[in-house]
């Protein structure tokens, strides 16, 4: 029996970045104090979020309601194990990216740094709000806050390219928000609630016909364009015009993970595995995921710009999460849930390395990076660790989630048991576009004499921490209670094995 614990803790956790954003503006003329507030808010938020873990691991949920928006629809938070996985990931990585941002923004003498830190804080406010939302309405509000607050970050450079990227980003994600709103209204109309319920909203299947439910699911999918599934993915590579810390946190952790987080919420907590299975929607989702996995990998092969290659790799990895949940098997869903933090740690390492290379050498294209590993060994060794994770090779966290996804396929049985070969093809393609970067960086001779050195310490320390975490997860997946929380979430979902999508 799940007990509800009333507490203000989730609100305090969410408000940390909002309060910090005010202080950031007030102390905008004093960079050290301004950035001190950013770091402090990140640390406090992380500590508050992690303090909720013991209550959740005991099988409880923490709730906090503000007001009733409509009958049976309350604006409030409900912290469960799965939400906490996303909240811990976002809040911890915010601390590291704040430190990284200090090094990056100061080294490049970037303009409008106060605006940058202000929007960054609001983006984290949105991301943690999504993680701790108790229903679709609350999630929708924070989803839109996340979209709007990240626009100035994407368009930060204010060059024509950056402004175009910002407009495209906004157009895709606001349109996506409209679909989400439509899906929210229809869900409420059908079931009279928008709450996330373990195993799905019970009366959803009884109150609507099959066709309506299929349309509803499609609306939800379009509403989660943040997951960058194809063909609605192109905002992500375009948004790489943003400064690298933005690409790192928002486009490897907060924004894109909000998309896949939403899809898992809809599959497991709105529709429920049984209904998804009955409607045959698992297969639809698997088809979209497989198409995206393969095509995104092929696109990545064609990129010479390092950040764009990483962006396509992100699209591929997000679809792995969708693939896992679409299997509708316990291990598939477990793999999908655990891949959210694992991928976040690995991909943020890669993005931060790309930024460090840019700051130290000004190089953005892979073909220009010959021999750079010899002068920037720490950066490129950590890059190698992240790349191994993307290729699902040991000893990295990526290997574990890949393992779970393969088990999920076997568990599903039937034709799905051959799908590990598709995952194999995806991993091979990952090797084909990540290994050449490592080869060029370490084994190719640099052109001309080079006086390069490593990026500033503020940037290097977070990279080393995230890379180390990616390895620690392999040996000890319970770091930050990740595997325990995922197991608690799976227990509360109470999914039986051996289902076919």
């Amino acid at each position: 029996m799940i007990a509800e614990v009333e507490s203000l803790t989730p609100v305090i956790a969410i408000l940390c970045p909002a309060i910090a954003s005010i202080l950031i503006v007030l102390f905008g003329k004093w960079p050290n104090i301004r950035e001190g507030w950013t770091m402090l808010a990140g640390i406090i938020q992380f500590l508050i979020v992690i303090s909720m873990v013991p209550v959740i691991l005991d099988g409880n949920i923490i709730t906090c309601t503000f007001f009733t928006a409509f009958p049976n629809v309350e604006f409030g938070f409900s912290v469960d194990a799965f939400g906490l996985v996303f909240a811990i990931t976002s809040s911890f990585l915010w601390i590291l990216v704040s430190s990284y941002s200090i090094g990056y923004m100061r080294s490049l003498h970037e303009h409008a740094q106060t605006r940058y830190y202000f929007c960054f804080a609001w983006a984290i406010f949105g991301a943690v709000g999504i993680a701790l939302s108790g229903n679709l309405l609350t999630m929708f509000v924070f989803y839109e806050i996340l979209t709007v607050s990240t626009y100035p970050l994407v368009a930060h450079d204010q060059t024509p390219e950056a402004l175009f990227a910002g407009r495209k980003y906004l157009a895709y994600l606001l349109t996506s928000g409209v679909f989400f709103l439509a899906a929210l209204i229809i869900t409420y109309h059908i079931s009279g609630t928008t709450d996330f319920v373990n195993g799905g909203i019970p009366n959803l299947a009884a109150e609507a016909s099959r066709a309506v439910l299929v349309v509803l699911f499609m609306l939800f999918l379009l509403g989660f364009m943040k997951a960058a599934w194809m063909p609605f993915h192109s905002w992500l590579p375009t948004a790489m015009a943003a400064p690298t810390p933005v690409s790192a946190l928002l486009h490897a952790v907060a924004v894109v993970k909000a998309g896949v987080f939403g899809i898992i919420r809809v599959v497991c907590y709105i529709f429920g595995v049984d209904l998804m299975h009955a409607l045959g929607l698992g297969l639809v989702l698997i088809s979209i995921a497989i198409f995206t996995i393969i095509v995104a990998n092929l696109f990545a092969l064609a990129q010479d710009n390092l950040k764009k290659r990483l962006a396509y790799s992100t699209i591929n990895q997000l679809s792995l999460v969708i693939f896992g949940v679409a299997l509708l098997t316990p291990e598939g869903i477990e793999g999908a849930m655990i891949h959210i933090p694992f991928h976040a740690f690995m991909k943020i390492t890669l993005f931060m390395c790309a930024g460090a290379i840019m700051v130290a050498s000004g190089k953005r294209n892979i073909s220009d990076m010959a021999g750079i590993g010899r002068v920037m060994p720490v950066t490129l060794i950590t890059f190698t660790i992240g790349a191994l994770g993307m290729c699902a090779l040991p000893p990295t966290a990526g290997y574990l989630s890949h393992h779970l996804l393969v088990h999920g396929c076997e568990e599903a049985g039937g034709a799905i048991s051959y799908f590990p070969y598709i995952l194999l093809i995806a991993a091979i393609l990952d090797v084909m576009y990540f290994f050449p970067i490592i080869y060029i960086a370490f084994f190719k001779k640099p052109e001309g004499g080079s006086k390069l050195k490593e990026a500033p310490l503020f940037m290097l320390v977070p990279i080393v921490i995230t890379a180390t975490c990616s390895i620690i997860f392999y040996f000890y997946p319970d770091l930050f209670y990740m595997s325990d929380l995922v197991e608690t979430a799976m227990t509360s979902l109470n999914i039986g094995g051996g289902m076919h999508p």
């Binding site: 407009r167 495209k168 906004l170 157009a171 895709y172 606001l174 349109t175 409209v178 679909f179 709103l181 439509a182 209204i185 229809i186 609507a208 016909s209 099959r210 066709a211 309506v212 299929v214 349309v215 509803l216 609306l219 063909p231 609605f232 192109s234 095509v295 092929l298 696109f299 092969l301 064609a302 290729c391 699902a392 090779l393 393992h403 393969v406 088990h407 076997e410 590990p420 070969y421 995952l423 194999l424 991993a427 091979i428 090797v431 084909m432 290994f435 050449p436 080869y439």
Partner: protein
């Protein structure tokens, strides 16, 4: 536990490393060329059409009445063009240009206004109603 695909994966990594040691260039150049050429062209094509779709929503929502008149005129011109005189066709074209001035085509996705959002909601509520009616109609 060794998974079904693991030996193959490690074999490929070993193959890749040996290939690089011998030839000093990554294997699968044909695949990379395919990705850089036709596949990227296809990607740009898809992106262009998705952007065009969004731009179309923006264009309609700016002034739906004018947009409908323009579309109506365009369709009329296309239908009547084979049977009318060149002078009449030129007159139609001039009319069309005049109406187009009422609703200038902006750069795709300059802004997504509230009108667009409302229009999209209406479209999808219509879709929902359609699906609901179809569901009832198809029900035994």
């Amino acid at each position: 536990m060794i998974l079904i695909d693991e030996p193959l994966m490690f074999a490929f990594v070993a193959f890749w490393l040996i290939w690089m040691a011998i030839f000093k260039t990554p294997p699968g150049q044909w695949l990379i060329r395919l990705c850089e050429g036709p596949l990227m062209t296809f990607a740009r094509y898809i992106d262009f059409h998705v952007m065009k779709l969004a731009a179309f929503f923006v264009w309609i929502s700016t002034n739906p009445v004018a947009a409908l008149r323009i579309k109506g005129k365009e369709v009329k011109l296309k239908v009547e063009q084979p049977s009318i005189t060149p002078e009449k066709a030129a007159e139609y074209e001039r009319d069309l240009e005049e109406i187009h001035k009422m609703q200038p085509q902006r750069e795709p996705m300059v802004r997504l206004n509230i009108g667009t959002a409302l229009l999209l909601i209406l479209v999808f509520i219509a879709l929902y109603l359609l699906a609901m009616f179809m569901g009832r109609w198809l029900a035994p």
